[in-house]
């Protein structure tokens, strides 16, 4: 599958490595070239430098041809914006979006976006670790 | 020398003490004393929304205030006002009525490590053009809570 990942932070880099290892065609887009140092050794995908909130930068990274787009920068609003851009303007089939703020995440999900909040999921996992016994229960 | 004093009141003991003080000062200096009770209206409602329960409580506060003033030998008439923020309403009211002094009770909240004045008194202190006197009840250092105003 052709996949574009916006944001090469810890999550973005890890995600890119995982999908690449599974044989997908991955491109990582980040505004900062130095962010690519986080990619695992032997990463075979493409690295694109540019602002994911900008159409031309997304196009250079090949957004017209991808089947999936991940928005995983540090900014909730940036992720939301880029996701809508991918969905509404470029018609990407699967758009997945990280939103830290659980309230906003729920709203965006109600509006039809595939979102995920590490804050609420993390809190749930930690509570489970305490109450249901051990990190294994949380499915690490 | 003040010609008119504005006393914003709530149901807190501090604001009734402030009113007593205002009556004493007012009597001495032959100044008018205006009493207002401000109902803060949440932004989810229009400013002129009917706030029956709050208005009833407000009337009670004003009646109580009138009694306190009477006791101090003074006739005051109070008014209910609806506003978004009590602080700016008090400052505006003082300006519109041309009062030269605001006397108000302040509540305080003790959090671990600090004592905080309410935001209304804080706003009035920073923004009122006229003189401002604050009346703060004795601190209960045994750890209990004094009742705050706003």
């Amino acid at each position: 599958m052709k996949i574009l990942i916006m944001g090469c932070g810890r999550l973005g880099a890890r995600l890119a490595g995982t999908l690449d290892a599974q044989g997908h065609d991955v491109t990582v887009l980040d505004i900062n070239q130095s962010a690519f140092r986080r990619l695992p050794e032997g990463f075979r995908g493409r690295r694109a430098v540019g602002n994911g909130m900008d159409g031309p930068a997304l196009e250079r990274a090949g957004i017209q041809d991808v089947e999936a787009f991940f928005a995983v920068t540090q900014g909730d609003n940036r992720n939301y914006f880029a996701s809508q851009l991918a969905r509404e303007v470029y018609g990407v089939k699967r758009v997945l979006c990280r939103i830290y703020d659980p309230v906003r995440e729920q709203i965006f999900r109600e509006m039809g976006l595939e979102t995920f909040s590490p804050t609420s999921i993390g809190a749930q996992i930690m509570a489970d670790m305490l109450l249901k016994g051990g990190p294994a229960a949380a499915g690490r | 020398m003040p010609n008119a004093i504005l006393v914003p009141v709530t149901n807190s003991p501090a604001s009734l003490e402030a009113l007593t003080a205002a009556c004493i000062v007012g009597k001495q200096r032959k100044a008018k004393v205006y009493v207002v009770h401000i109902i803060e209206v949440l932004r989810s409602l229009p400013l002129n929304a009917g706030m029956e329960a709050e208005a009833r409580r407000g009337e009670q506060v004003l009646r109580k205030a009138a009694e306190v003033a009477q006791h101090a030998g003074y006739q005051v008439s109070g008014e209910l006002l609806q506003a978004r923020e009590a602080g700016s309403a008090i400052v505006d009211e003082a300006r519109d009525r041309g009062v030269d002094m605001i006397i108000m009770g302040v509540g305080y909240q003790r959090m671990i490590g600090s004592v905080q004045m309410g935001k209304t008194a804080d706003f009035v202190m920073r923004n009122a053009a006229c003189q401002v006197w604050l009346v703060r009840p004795a601190l209960d250092l045994e750890g209990g809570h004094a009742e705050g105003s706003h």
């Binding site: 609003n77 303007v89 | 932004r43 989810s44 978004r84 700016s88």
Partner: protein
């Protein structure tokens, strides 16, 4: 009308000021505490310090009863989030300032009206729906000319006169007269102007206020 303005920068501040002058209920939401305090010095308690991208902030601002939300921060992504949350909370109309013109398409697709930063443009857009205003800016031309529509009130000083008799500001031209029945006419010097007529006038941008005075008579309403 209750209007929430997200962003207390220059655009937000002037926009709010104009709307307040036109007797609308306005709340400016500004994230930066010191900027918010500075705006509050001018606009009183029509300002709230908070992040307008947070649904909880918008809820306590009473977004459910807002008639219009204008997102005019300097960040397009924030403006999109504000407008989309507003929509989700049932606000009928949202207008966003776009800082990067390339983003216009996305906002359009999300059903958000857009404008390119200038306060006057935001106002013009809002004003087209305000029934209380007699003068509606229709279009700004690059040459410094502006096309406006003016509805002639009963009290207009030029009601009953012919086009020839009317003294307008320099370089102003009545280009179209639409009668109350909706019939348009290209006026001649003899065309009589009646109350209820809508005039489409070309004028210079700096003459808009003079024009308003000449046609409506007073200077109430929004300055543009």
């Amino acid at each position: 009308m209750y209007v929430i303005v997200a962003g207390g920068g220059k655009v937000g501040f002037y926009l709010a000021q104009e709307l307040l002058q036109a007797n609308h209920e306005v709340l400016v939401i500004e994230r930066d505490a010191s900027r918010s305090a500075a705006v509050a010095e001018e606009l009183g308690d029509n300002v709230m310090n908070g992040d307008s991208c947070e649904a909880t902030t918008l809820d306590s601002a009473g977004i459910a009863r807002a008639d219009l939300v204008c997102a005019v921060t300097g960040d397009d992504e924030d403006n999109l989030v504000v407008c989309d949350i507003a929509r989700q909370r049932g606000v009928p109309r949202t207008v966003a300032r776009i800082n990067n013109p390339r983003n216009e398409l996305l906002f359009k697709k999300r059903g958000i009206e857009t404008t390119i930063s200038a306060t006057t443009a935001v106002l013009a857009q809002i004003e087209q729906e305000l029934p209380t205003t007699d003068m509606i800016p229709l279009l700004q031309l690059h040459s410094g000319l502006e096309i406006v529509e003016i509805k002639l009130p009963e009290t207009s000083p030029i009601a009953g006169r012919s086009v020839r008799e009317v003294l307008l500001p320099p370089e102003s031209l009545i280009s179209l007269v639409v009668d109350p029945g909706g019939v348009p006419r290209i006026p001649s010097g003899d065309t009589r102007l009646n109350p209820g007529d809508a005039l489409v006038v070309v004028t210079r941008r700096e003459c808009v206020n003079l024009l308003r005075e000449a046609v409506i008579g007073s200077t109430h309403g929004l300055d543009t």
